[in-house]
Each structure stands twice: as structure tokens, then as C-alpha cells.
């Protein structure tokens, strides 16, 4: 069946929309394969605007892994802005891939990567524009399998009606396994139709098919149990874990867009997972154990990536990049290697200690030293014990003193508001900390020309973390607490003017909280919001709190629950959580103990340097920590013709 490009129809619309270049494709290192020579075809989506979605590493990696397979084709699609959506609806142009502008409805799989829950309404837009029925139960054998992945997929229940399957954990091997099952089923002439394919996937134990599970509720609205409704479907579905990152050096050829995007750099993931044990951090909990890429593997990826892209900045990504066992040698090795080539290096996630400043100095050897960012997360020593972020105020002051002394002009500090057990006093201490930072900075730099920016986000309790039982702070209380802090900082005559204060109001956090810890009943809210025109909820100019609350008020009463029930309500030990049947490897009893430790203000150390504390992941998943040091060093690249002398 030939599948035609929709570009001719699309092209006529492009002169009328903002930034048309985002829809034309043609990125460097993108791939267009012959449709008829492939038997399994994937459309990969990041459910946000192109400028946000293109740099997403997850999509980029799976795109390359799949396209490397013989007979497999993967193309990308992103959310279209409302201006184009309107024109596409008027002219009947379907959701398209940017690679070959093929209609998404013609693919075998639509794989959607959810980094955040705020992309759920955009999923519905894409399904609708693709001509795919919004609900799984209405789809036929001719519609793509709609698959969710990404961190938000660790609780896919709110979108359980809209997706056919969810896969949790690392995607590299998982997509190949799913691909093999789809290929075999197609080769056999699609026996048993869509149902049979979903059943084959579910039976692996690594693919969650929501429709094969029934959720039963108690009279008070809580879940009583989640039961498989087919024989052969497992009670729990496991996450996927890739071991030995050196065997997966993706992306090898990162996509380089023509359009401007949020990250204009070549990214190399230097390790995956984190065992620091910050109790609020879902990423750190669900990506265990720590698996390092070797220093030589990193060096090779940077070298090839730069040659393949021409980027002038390299980002060394992970959840806490300074924790790589050989980060010092990596930073020095790369800085030495690219000193002549005007390649910038950045380390996006860093911790608070003086070693970090040495690293930052190394990375900016010849660059501008504008701003350093640290994340103490909590304003008081007490709350930092609650969240297990082991940073003392003395550490922080010593670190910023070193930073200002080394020519850094601005320090940014990230905090959260609304953490469990938090009081006004805990948050007001953020102000004291900022004042101490400025005071020390002025002393060290012998100048008043220094700044400290305090940036605060609202805490949202997440599934598969020790705080999954915690009550979320209401939007009103969040706003009141932040207002007190703002007044305190603004009121400081001596230091207030050197302190920047950035915060978000509490409302978006409540919607995120509803979606994060929601169950299948929340799907009706998402549907109602989308029906009423809700789109791009991650964007301030499109997000509407009132729309979400009105829709929840319409959709939830029939179940006897409301938004507060999902957000500000504390859960008990016995409660069946909507995501309990999705196995992240973390032992639920360990999570509960860690939650109790949090309430007792007891810290838990990192298993990389201390003995195992039985979170359960390694034995459950058959995995183990993989860290160095390897003792190897980065050698200079063989000198070609550097062109250094002119």
C-alpha cells in the first residue's frame, strides 16, 4: 500500500504559521527510508513543540536504534502549534512525521515519550489529527499501536484509556524486543488481529497493556485491587534496564535541526541512574542502579558526535554529573583536547562542594564565567534531612566563596516549596541563606557587583518515590508561603537588591500532581480538558488552571473523588496505589521505611560509597551498580591539520 507524503498540502499552509521551518524536517543526520522496503514502521513522538522535542535524547536514541535495523523505519513527529492545527483541520491535513511527511495513522506504532504529564492533552491532539480513535477500545487492526514511554509512563493510569501499551524503563533494548514481536505477528498475517498482538506483548511481562487489567475500587474511592483479566497476563509489569552503556553509544549521529531549539548542543549521557537518594526525586528512584559510561566511551562519543554535528558545545548529561567516578579526568581530558577548537563544555547537574568549582573552572578555562547553579533544594538544615539532600549551609557558603573568588559573578540556587513537613520557617530560611551567600560573596570578591538568584519550584509528590504517600501543599498555601519569603527578601535593605527571586505560583503544580498520582478516573478529566480546547499545558500562555478545575469538577463527582483527594490527601501504608502493579524494582516496604525516615529527619547514604541499604532494585531486576574508576585517561586526538598557525 503506497503511502504518500502530505508535504504538498502542508506546504500551502506553512506561509501562514509561525516558524514554518520546524515542520519541514531535513535535519542533519535524519533518516528517510523506503516505505515498502520496511515491514515494521515506527512514528516516534515527543508531545511538545518541535523546539522542545527535537533535542530530547530519548526520542533521538530510539530513532537511531530502530533505523539501524534492516527493514525497520522510524520517523519523528511533534506537536503542532494551535495556528497550524487550525489550518490542518480546515484543510484535512493529518498529523505528519517531519522526516518524510507521512501520515502518522499509516504507521505500525506511534511511540510517545512522556518526560512530563503535561503532554497528555497534546497526545490527544496528535491522535485526533492522525485519525486514530482517542480510546484504545475503539481502534482496529489498521490503527497504529499507541505506546507510552518516558518517566511519566511509570504511572500511565491517567492515560490508560488512550494508550494501548506502556513500556517503562530504558528503551534501547525494549523497542527492539517489541519490534520483533510486531514483525513476527505481521509475518504470520496478523493472526487474531490487534487483540492477539497486544496479548503477545503483554505476556512478555515487560509491556503493560492497560486494557488487560481491571481496576476495582473500594466504596471510599480508593483502589481495592488491580487484576489481570486474561490468562497469561502477568500481575506486575517490569521496567527495562540496559546494562553496559558502552554497548549503547547513542546517539551516534545526533540530529542537528535548522530551527532553533531549547538545547543547541551535543549531549553525551555519562551515566544513567542515581543513588543519592533524594526522596523527592522520581528520576533518581526509577533509574537505578547507577551505570557509568567509561571515560574512553565518553571520549569517543564526544569526538564522533562533534564531527557529525559541528556543534560548539558539549553537555555531559546525567542526574548528577559531578558524581561520575572519573569526572575530573573526563573534564580535564576534554578541556585539553578541545582547547584549540572553541568547543564549550557544560555540566548541567552539579552538586554543592568545592570540587565542583574546580570542575567548573576547568570547563570554562577560556570561557566566560557568568553563572553557577546549585540545588540545595531546601532552605533549612531540618528540611534537607527530610528530603535526604545532604548539604550543610557551611558546605554551601564555602562553595560559593570559592566560586566568587574564581571570577564567577552570579550564583543561582534552586529550591522547592511545599516539601513534606515543611513550615513557613523552613522556607523563610531560604532568604537567610541567600543573604549569607551575598555577604560572603561581597567579602571574597571585594565588590558589591555580585548576584545570587533564588529560584523556587513547587514540590509535586511523584509515584515510585518515598514521598508517593505525602500530602501535596495546596496552591493557596504555596503562594502564601512564597509571598512571605518574597517580602522578607525584598525587605532586606542591605542585601535584598543583590538577590533575584524567581518562583512559580502553586496552580500548575496542582494539575501536575493530579496527573502524576492520578488513576484511570483522571482520564475523564484529561478528555474533558482537551474537548474544551486544552493544549500545551507546559506553556504558561496556554495552561489554564480554571479549565482543569472546571473539568475535574465535571468529571470526578461520579466517582466520589475530587482534585484534593488526589493531591493534598496523605495516603496510608495499606492503600493500593494506582501504579503498584508497575514494577520499578523498588521494594514498596523500603520506600515506606524511607518515608518514615524522612518524617524522622533521618538521612540515608549513597550505596555507591556505603553498604547496600536494600532498596530492592538490583536483586529484583538482576542488575548491579556499574561504576569505575577504570584508571584510563583521555588521550589527545591524533593531530590532523589543526590550522592553528595562520
Amino acid at each position: 500500500m503506497p503511502v504518500e507524503s502530505v508535504f504538498p498540502q502542508l506546504e500551502a499552509l506553512l506561509p501562514h504559521v509561525q516558524k514554518p521551518i520546524q515542520y519541514v524536517g531535513g535535519e542533519l543526520n535524519s533518516t528517510v527510508k523506503d516505505w515498502d522496503e520496511c515491514d515494521v514502521r515506527w512514528a516516534l513522538m515527543y508531545p511538545d513543540a518541535y523546539e522542545v522535542g527535537l533535542p530530547n535524547q530519548g526520542v533521538m536514541i530510539l530513532y537511531e536504534v530502530l533505523n539501524e535495523q534492516e527493514g525497520v523505519l522510524a520517523e519523528r513527529t511533534y506537536s503542532v502549534w494551535p495556528d497550524l492545527e487550525k489550518l490542518m483541520r480546515e484543510r484535512g491535513v493529518p498529523q505528519f512525521t517531519v522526516d518524510a511527511h507521512r501520515p502518522v495513522g499509516a504507521f505500525d506504532v506511534l511511540g510517545v515519550s512522556f518526560s512530563t504529564e503535561l503532554g497528555y492533552t497534546n497526545l490527544l491532539t496528535a491522535l485526533d489529527l492522525s485519525g486514530i480513535p482517542l480510546e484504545s477500545k475503539d481502534r482496529t487492526v489498521d490503527h497504529p499501536i499507541v505506546m507510552a514511554g518516558g518517566h511519566a509512563a511509570f504511572n500511565p493510569e491517567p492515560i490508560a484509556d488512550f494508550v494501548d501499551v506502556a513500556v517503562i524503563g530504558d528503551g534501547e533494548q525494549a523497542v527492539l524486543d517489541v519490534n520483533a514481536i510486531i514483525r513476527a505477528w505481521k509475518d504470520e498475517g496478523r493472526p487474531g488481529g490487534r487483540d492477539e498482538l497486544l496479548l503477545r506483548l503483554a505476556k512478555t511481562g515487560g509491556v503493560y497493556v492497560p486494557r488487560f487489567y481491571d481496576v476495582e475500587y473500594l466504596r471510599d474511592g480508593r483502589i481495592s485491587r488491580v487484576v489481570p483479566n486474561r490468562s497469561g497476563v502477568p500481575w506486575r509489569v517490569s521496567k527495562h534496564t540496559v546494562m553496559d552503556l558502552d554497548e549503547w553509544p547513542y546517539p551516534k549521529k545526533p540530529l542537528v535541526p535548522l530551527a532553533e531549539t531549547v538545547h543547541e548542543r551535543m549531549s553525551v549521557e555519562i551515566f544513567r541512574g542515581c543513588t543519592r537518594g533524594c526522596r523527592f526525586c522520581q528520576a533518581g528512584m526509577i533509574t537505578r542502579p547507577v551505570r557509568e559510561r567509561s571515560i574512553t566511551g565518553i571520549g569517543e562519543m564526544v569526538d564522533k558526535g562533534l564531527k557529525n554535528t559541528g556543534f560548539e558545545e558539549v553537555g555531559l548529561l546525567s542526574l548528577s554529573s559531578a558524581d561520575h567516578s572519573e569526572i575530573g579526568d573526563i573534564a580535564k581530558g576534554l578541556a585539553d583536547r578541545y582547547e584549540e577548537d572553541k568547543v564549550g563544555l557544560s555540566l548541567p547537574s552539579t552538586r554543592v562542594d568545592a570540587f565542583n568549582i574546580d570542575l567548573a573552572n576547568e570547563l570554562t578555562r577560556n570561557g566566560r564565567r557568568s553563572g553557577l547553579t546549585f540545588a540545595p533544594e531546601g532552605g533549612s538544615e531540618r528540611i534537607r534531612k527530610v528530603i535526604n539532600k545532604m548539604v550543610s549551609e557551611e558546605d554551601l557558603i564555602r562553595t560559593v566563596a570559592t566560586a566568587y573568588g574564581n571570577g564567577w559573578r552570579q550564583v543561582k540556587l534552586y529550591f522547592m516549596c511545599g516539601l513534606p513537613t515543611e513550615t513557613d520557617e523552613d522556607v523563610l530560611q531560604i532568604g537567610d541563606m541567600a543573604v549569607n551567600v551575598i555577604a560572603k560573596g561581597r567579602e571574597v570578591a571585594q565588590s558589591n557587583d555580585i548576584r545570587c538568584t533564588v529560584s523556587i519550584g513547587g514540590f509535586v509528590p511523584k509515584p515510585h518515590t518515598p514521598f508517593q504517600w505525602a500530602p501535596q501543599l495546596s496552591a493557596e498555601e504555596t503562594d502564601a508561603r512564597l509571598a512571605k519569603l518574597r517580602d522578607k527578601i525584598r525587605g532586606d535593605k542591605k542585601y535584598g537588591r543583590s538577590i533575584g527571586f524567581r518562583y512559580h505560583d502553586g496552580k500548575p503544580g496542582i494539575v501536575e500532581g493530579l496527573l502524576s498520582r492520578g488513576d484511570r478516573r483522571v482520564g475523564a478529566v484529561i478528555r474533558e480538558v482537551w474537548d474544551q480546547g486544552g493544549r500545551f499545558d507546559g506553556w504558561r500562555e496556554y495552561f489554564s488552571y480554571d479549565l482543569w478545575m472546571d473539568s475535574a469538577a465535571k468529571a470526578l463527582p461520579e466517582y466520589g473523588v475530587d482534585v484534593d483527594w488526589y493531591t493534598t490527601r496523605e495516603r496510608s501504608y495499606e492503600e493500593v496505589l494506582p501504579w503498584d502493579h508497575l514494577d520499578s524494582g523498588l521494594d514498596k516496604d523500603w520506600l515506606w521505611e524511607d518515608w518514615q525516615d524522612a518524617l524522622d529527619e533521618t538521612e540515608v547514604p549513597d550505596c555507591r560509597w556505603d553498604p547496600c541499604f536494600d532498596c530492592g532494585v538490583c536483586p529484583q531486576m538482576g542488575t548491579d551498580i556499574q561504576i569505575g574508576p577504570t584508571g584510563k585517561k583521555l588521550l589527545p586526538l591524533s593531530v590532523v591539520d589543526s590550522g592553528a598557525s595562520g
Partner: protein, 307 residues
């Protein structure tokens, strides 16, 4: 005005008057300077002509800049860099066509720290640029008056839902007028100006699909349509093809429903007698002449100066 001035995109920040010796590390606040020797001086300037074809006509000028500078890095072209903490390759762009319009005749100039054969450089860079953003001509720069040579542009406007007769009537009405006032929305509000005076010629013709001089493999259009040829003088304010289309609507009520496909065919010196646009590289091709180099050029390259 942008239409007649090279837009320098070089950084002018930092390092404007420093000595050649390396600055010590960890100096007090605000006094850090990049270490090491100053950037190598430029020894050659090369002018390139490039295109924006097919779907890549939706590339904005900023998009093109990023793509081109990344291609320079991948191709390992020995670029001259500006000084300072954030060195930029020395590239000057001239008079870019608006986003959404195709072009066969865009121009830029690069400064090199090692000499290269312009023809080989063109082939190399073309291979590293995406299809559609093609590098089609290169010359070694002579003289610094390049932007002054860009006196006029020739445009093709393809009107897919306009018949040749409608187009002919509209252009006749437009040309018959002394002035044709049009409006354009700018950042400062709506601006009204005359679109007629800058127009040196405007002709219409019929074209079968795919008949034009510009290959449009992915373009729409299956029926006979009208093609306009427009030669416009670069004035202030600049009159662009969409202004002329506004003028055709104002003067003759021509209002296509399908957006016009616009392509710049040429820009360069204007031959006043024939009213045609000629090759702006002609003076560079005349050998031997003033060699390009650091002296007497539009781009400052001597140590201790920034462009």
C-alpha cells in the same frame, strides 16, 4: 538599512585592547581575560553565493547562520575568529531573503587564517550543507565594496491560482500607476510607503507545472498558472516581493488564495540601460587585482582589534 549594509554578526564583546601575553588565571573579579595568544589573523577572504531551495526556503536567516557555521566546523575550514571569551567565526552576510522565499542568489563572505582555493572550498562546503542550502559559487574577495554592488534583485513570483490573463491585467495596472501605496506590519506598527518607484520591471507569463527555471520537486500546482518576473531596486525602505503583491492587490484587486511561491533569481549591480541585474562577483573575477587580505578590507583582522 539592512538592504545595503553587510550585517556583521561577529561578537564585539571583550578583549578589545589586551596585550599579547597570557593573563594569569584566577584574577580578581571582572578582570579575567582569555588565556593564550590572540586569534590568528585572516589571510584571505572568500565570497560565496548560496541558495535557499524547495522546502528549505522556510529557513530563516538565523537558522541559516547556525547551519552554515556548523558546516564550517564539520568541514574543518580554517576560519578566522573574533577575540574574547566567546569567539565567533568571521562571517558576514549580505541582504538575506525573507523567511519563506526561495533564493538562487544569497551572498556571504568568510575570513580564513589559511589560504584555500575558492572552487575547492565551494565544493567542500556544499557537501556539508543540507540539500537546498547549496553553495553554488565562490570567489576570492577583492575590494571591500561588496554590499554596494547589490543594487537590485530579480524575483520570480509563482501564482498557482492566478491565470496568466489576470496576472497580465494586474501588472499593467500596477505599472501604469505613478505611485502604489502599500502597508506593511513592522515591529513599530503599520508602515505605509510607495511600492511602485523601486520596481524597474514587472512582467507576467504563463507556466505549466514545473516549467519554471527553479526546480520545485515538492511544490504544489498541477494547472497552468501565472509567473511574474520582477526587478526591484534596493532602496530605503526596501520594497520586497510581498510588497509588490500588496501593490497588485491595491492597484488591480489581484488577491491570490494560494500563497505565492517567491524566489530570488539574482541580485547584484544594475545595468541601467538594459534594466538587468548583473553578476556581483564580476569585479572579484577580474584578475589580477587588489589581493584580498587584512589591509583595506571591510573586516578588521589585525591583532588587537575586533570586527
Amino acid at each position: 538599512m539592512r538592504t545595503s549594509v553587510f550585517v556583521h554578526v561577529l561578537s564585539t564583546k571583550g578583549g578589545s585592547s589586551r596585550a599579547c601575553r597570557p593573563a594569569p588565571r584566577r584574577e580578581p573579579l571582572g578582570k579575567r581575560q582569555p588565556e593564550g595568544p590572540p586569534p590568528a589573523p585572516a589571510v584571505q577572504r572568500v565570497r560565496l553565493r548560496y541558495t535557499k531551495r524547495g522546502r528549505l526556503r522556510f529557513t530563516s536567516h538565523r537558522d541559516f547562520q547556525r547551519a552554515f557555521e556548523r558546516a564550517l566546523r564539520r568541514a574543518e575550514v580554517p576560519m578566522a575568529y573574533s577575540a574574547g571569551f566567546t569567539p565567533h567565526p568571521k562571517v558576514s552576510y549580505a541582504n538575506a531573503a525573507p523567511t519563506g522565499t526561495g533564493s538562487e542568489a544569497e551572498y556571504l563572505e568568510i575570513a580564513l587564517v589559511q589560504r584555500r582555493d575558492p572552487g575547492e572550498l565551494r565544493t567542500l562546503l556544499d557537501a556539508y550543507m543540507p540539500d537546498g542550502l547549496d553553495v553554488v559559487d565562490a570567489v576570492e574577495a577583492r575590494g571591500s565594496d561588496f554590499t554596494d554592488r547589490l543594487e537590485a534583485s530579480e524575483w520570480e513570483l509563482r501564482l498557482d491560482d492566478v491565470t496568466p490573463q489576470e496576472a497580465a491585467d494586474a501588472t499593467a495596472a500596477f505599472l501604469a500607476a505613478d505611485t502604489v501605496e502599500v502597508q506593511r506590519r513592522t515591529k513599530k506598527g503599520v508602515r505605509t510607503f510607495d511600492a511602485r518607484a523601486a520596481v524597474l520591471s514587472l512582467t507576467s507569463a504563463a507556466a505549466a507545472p514545473g516549467d519554471g527555471p527553479v526546480r520545485r520537486a515538492d511544490g504544489p500546482g498541477t494547472a497552468a498558472c501565472a509567473i511574474l518576473r520582477l526587478v526591484v531596486r534596493h532602496l530605503t525602505p526596501a520594497v520586497r516581493p510581498d510588497d509588490v503583491l500588496s501593490g497588485l492587490r491595491a492597484a488591480a484587486g489581484l488577491a491570490p488564495q494560494v500563497p505565492a511561491t517567491v524566489t530570488r533569481l539574482a541580485q547584484g549591480p544594475l545595468d541601467e540601460e538594459s534594466g538587468t541585474v548583473t553578476d556581483p562577483f564580476a569585479p572579484d573575477r577580474e584578475a589580477p587585482g587588489e589581493p584580498s587580505g587584512p589591509a583595506g578590507t571591510s573586516i578588521a583582522t589585525a591583532p588587537g582589534r575586533t570586527a
